[in-house]
Structure formats: structure tokens, C-alpha cells
Amino acid sequence: MPQHELILLKNMMQPGYGGSLAEYERTGGYHALRATLGKIPPADVTAAVRKSGLRGRGGAGFPTGVKWGFLPKDYQGPRYLCCNADESEPGTFKDRQLMERDPHQILEGIVLACYAIGAESAYIYIRGELVLAAKILERAIGEARAAGYIGKNILGTGVNVDVWVHRGAGAYICGEETALLESLEGKRGLPRVKPPFPATHGLYGKPTVVNNVETLANLPHILNRGAEWFASIGSPPKSTGTRVFCVSGHVKRPGNYEVPMGVTVRELIYEHAGGMRSDKPIKAFIPGGASAPFLTPAHLDVKLDFESVAAAGSMLGSGGVTVMEEGTSMVWAALRLMEFFYHESCGKCSPCREGSSWLVQIMRRIVAKRGRMEDLETLSDLCKNIAGRTVCAFGDAEVAPIQGTLKYWRDEYVALIREAEAANLIMPEPAGVKP
């Protein structure tokens, strides 16, 4: 198996590593914070992060340094950093591991990011179900505060950063950055209309940066080892560094694997995750969480970096790679994901709210062998009228499973409908209603 240098998972892969402050310090932890705060101007930190090519690990892949650069330079008043730990994208379970196994790596990243953008308050918005991770982070914050890495006048540098854990309460949409801010303000998690962007009008209307857990965890390493080092890893110039890919589904060894961006799907599945779990060959995979369209075995040599996966018609997203073996019904798989999106639609925009319900009903009908051939047209039509017509990217995400499977496995839809036709099990047209 090709061996790659671990960056984010390095500490926790040492047998016996427990993630306490003392253990983290022994591996060189908080060195970047000591070497940066009060010694390197904040603008230079931002410049280094921009030069490293680091892009957001939550899903959208926006360049982190550029995002920081959008904050108004001359603004007097509070600014905020929010760490997006609302890991809810089906197929993704990396942030949970980063938080529960090496929490100080994230806290050091948070303090460095706050220093760069001039924020004195940071909130870690963590999904409500991750009770253990929230407790571990709270404990780590206590340790870091006692050691002077968090709080007022950090290590005598005059820099103040306070960090709090804020638990969500079970809403996928709160991983969308403006919905996260609404939720943190104590409201329903409905995404905001943009512009204005959080960089100028974020938490409490103040300049705010929202960064994913894995993004922030990379910062100490970039500052310790240099932007050039980071930019040389992966698929430069546009996809630098490593990704923690979460492999799930029908493989022998599912789990989190940190590899440089740009390794092929084949290497990830067959070398790292041990290949397929039985003698059934691979039929399909999702490269980047539930919001990314399905791909086929013909795409196994696609490189796992932002551009290559996009060119193949899907997206790298959150790094959740789900593998399905021959024999899996693709229509059923799409329905399962569609049910997720239907459940999680926040209800703000009509195309998504009504569309997701309509899509689920049609998909259930087809899977139950009660579909009719016109349903395929209706599905495509609905998908086209949801994507791009909503306030946030959820609309584009929710049509991905259906569009992806209709593109490559249309014959499976047709076969199910033919069965319905043959058995004369088609749902009758409601009287007086034209589709």
C-alpha cells in the first residue's frame, strides 16, 4: 500500500495517544501559536494561509486565506470566528474523529485564525448529537485556558481569544454557514440571503469567518512548516494538502484515511480501505458526501482533488466516499438519500420545500413498483427547477442523487416502471388534476 505522510491524524495514530494538553505539547503542540502570536503580523499569517492554497474542508472548498481577506480592514468593533463542527453530511465522519482524538490541534488552529482575523471570540458550533465530542472539547478548552493558550492576554502577548462550545440540536441545514449563524443567534436555522456575506454581516451582524474543523486543524502545521511545504502536497496549485477521506459502504475496511489530495479513487478504495467486502464488484460510489452525484466504476481513476472530481461531473465536497457493490438498487439508494434531504429541507424556499416532498413521493412510488413512465420526465423537470433556484446550496445538493442515478442507471428506473406496467399496478391519475 502506498504510504503517505500523515499530518492531521499523525498524533492520534500513535498507540496510546489520548489527546490531552500534555500529550499534544509533547508532539510539538502549540509551537505555532508561540511562534506566531505577537511575532508575526496578522496580515502575514493570512498571506501565508493564502499562499499555502488551503481550501475549505467542509464541502464548498473556498480558499481559506481569501475568505479571511474579505473582512473589512478598518472596521472597529467585535469580529467573530465560528468553527463549523456541525458534521452532518451523510458519509462524513472525520471531524468527529479530529475532535474526539486530538482536540488541541483544532483549538490551536482556532486561536491562530482568530489572531489572523482579529477576532476575540470564537464559537465551536457542534452538532447536538456529538455529546462526547462536545465534552472532550470543553475539557480541552479548560486545559488550554489554564495553560494560558486561550483567554485574556495569551502568553503575555496582549492577544485575547475566548472559545466556547455551542451545541446545535439536530438540523443538517445548520452546517450551511449562514444557517449556522442564525442558529447560533438562537433562531430557526434558515439560511440567509447573500449578499451581504458573513465576512461583513455575520454573527450579530458583525464581520465573521466560518471555517470547518479540518480546515482549522491544518493551520498549526502550515505555520510550523511553511506555506511552500503545504502547497507542495497533493495536487498543486489548486488542491493542496491532505484530505481525511471517510470511506463507508461495501468495503472491507471502512474508516478515515488521510491521503494527499489527488490520489485516485481506486487507490483509496482498493489500497487503503481494503477493496470490496465480498466478491461482488463495485457498482457505484459517491465521492464527496450525499450532496455529490454518484459516479461509476469508469471513474475509479479520477483523482480525488477539487478540479478532477468536478470535471468528472461530481464534487469532492466533504470527503465522504461511499461505495456500493453490484446488486445494490440505485433507485433505492437515491430514494434513501432523497428521504434524507426531504427530512432536512428547512422549508424557507418553495422549490426545495415542495420539490423535495414531490421528489420523495415519486421515488417511493417507483421503488414500490407503482410508477409510470411519465414520472421520469417529472423527476428531471423537478430537479431542473430546484437546483439554482434556492437561497442556499441545499437545492443543488438534494437533486444530486436523482440526477446522478438517472444519468447512469436510467435503465433501473425503467425496469421498475415496466414491472409496474406489466402487473398493471400503476397509480391511477387523480381525477381532475393535470400534472
Binding site: F93, Q97, L132, H166, G168, E185, G186, P254, T322
Partner: protein, 175 residues
Amino acid sequence: MSLSEKYKDDIVDILSRYPVKRSALIPLLYLAQRDRGYVTEEAMIEIAGLLGLTPPQVYETVTFYTMFNLKPVGKFHIQVCKSLMCALVGSDTVIDWIKAKLGIGPGETTPDGLFTLSLVECLASCGTGPMMQINEDYYEQLTEEKLDRILADLTSTGSSQLKSGPFMWPEPLKT
């Protein structure tokens, strides 16, 4: 006893974290749920008073979030992930086992008030499915034998050693 009498220090601590009071709403709702197992109408009215909100503002928020129970649930709230990634590795079978063993369907509670079953969407544990959350704990890589032990442990002692600790999968190879 009201929440502010019972949890005075917690409430002061929570309010101190935010420059705008309303941000304390979800943390205070968690406090109320911890107290009674669900969020009561009286708690919502009291929290509204604490934060300078109207009761409908609290209600509109609490109903958005699926983790708040507005009516009593069993002592152990079993939530099985039914999303695709778990379904690929057998979550539907786990759901059937629980239905058969406890004699309840989704949304129902056993007559002794011990177990409530809910089906939920992805809990960020896709590499170690099928899985479920019971109250605050995760239980992963479920088999029928493991499920039997968990249910027996909970019934007899109120907790189970089979719950997940700090998550890492795969575990480091021992050399």
C-alpha cells in the same frame, strides 16, 4: 421548582457566553430537557421570560430542532440511523430486531416506559454502521448479539460498557 431556582449557576454561566441573550436559547432548552426528559410548556414560558422573548419565539425555535422532545419519551431513547450509508450495511435489519425484541414501532414507547424507538438521519458514524444513539451515547458496528447485550445492560444497570469512546476508525495497527 423553576429552572432559575434549580439551575441558577448554570444559567448565569450560559448567559455569560453570549453578547446577545437570545443565543442562550438552545443551551437553556437543553437544560430544560435534561431536567424533565422533555421541554415542557412551563419551561418554554420561563425561558422566554429569562431571555426577553415571547413564548411563540421560543416555540418557533424549539420546533425547528429535532433533538428537542415536546412530549415525554422513554428512559432510554433509541435512535437508529436509517440513512443510506447505514442502510447499505444493514440498518433496516437492526430496526426489525428492535421492533421484534421490544414490541414497539418508530415513535412508540414500551409500556414500562423504558424504551422509545426513533428512526433518525445520519449521525456521522457511517464507517462503523449500522449504529444507534441511546440518550447521549453512540453504539456502533451493531450485531444482534451486541444489541441484546446493550438492551439487557440498560434494563438491568442503566448503562452499557458497549457504548463508543473517543472515535477512531480504523484503529492504529499494533506493531
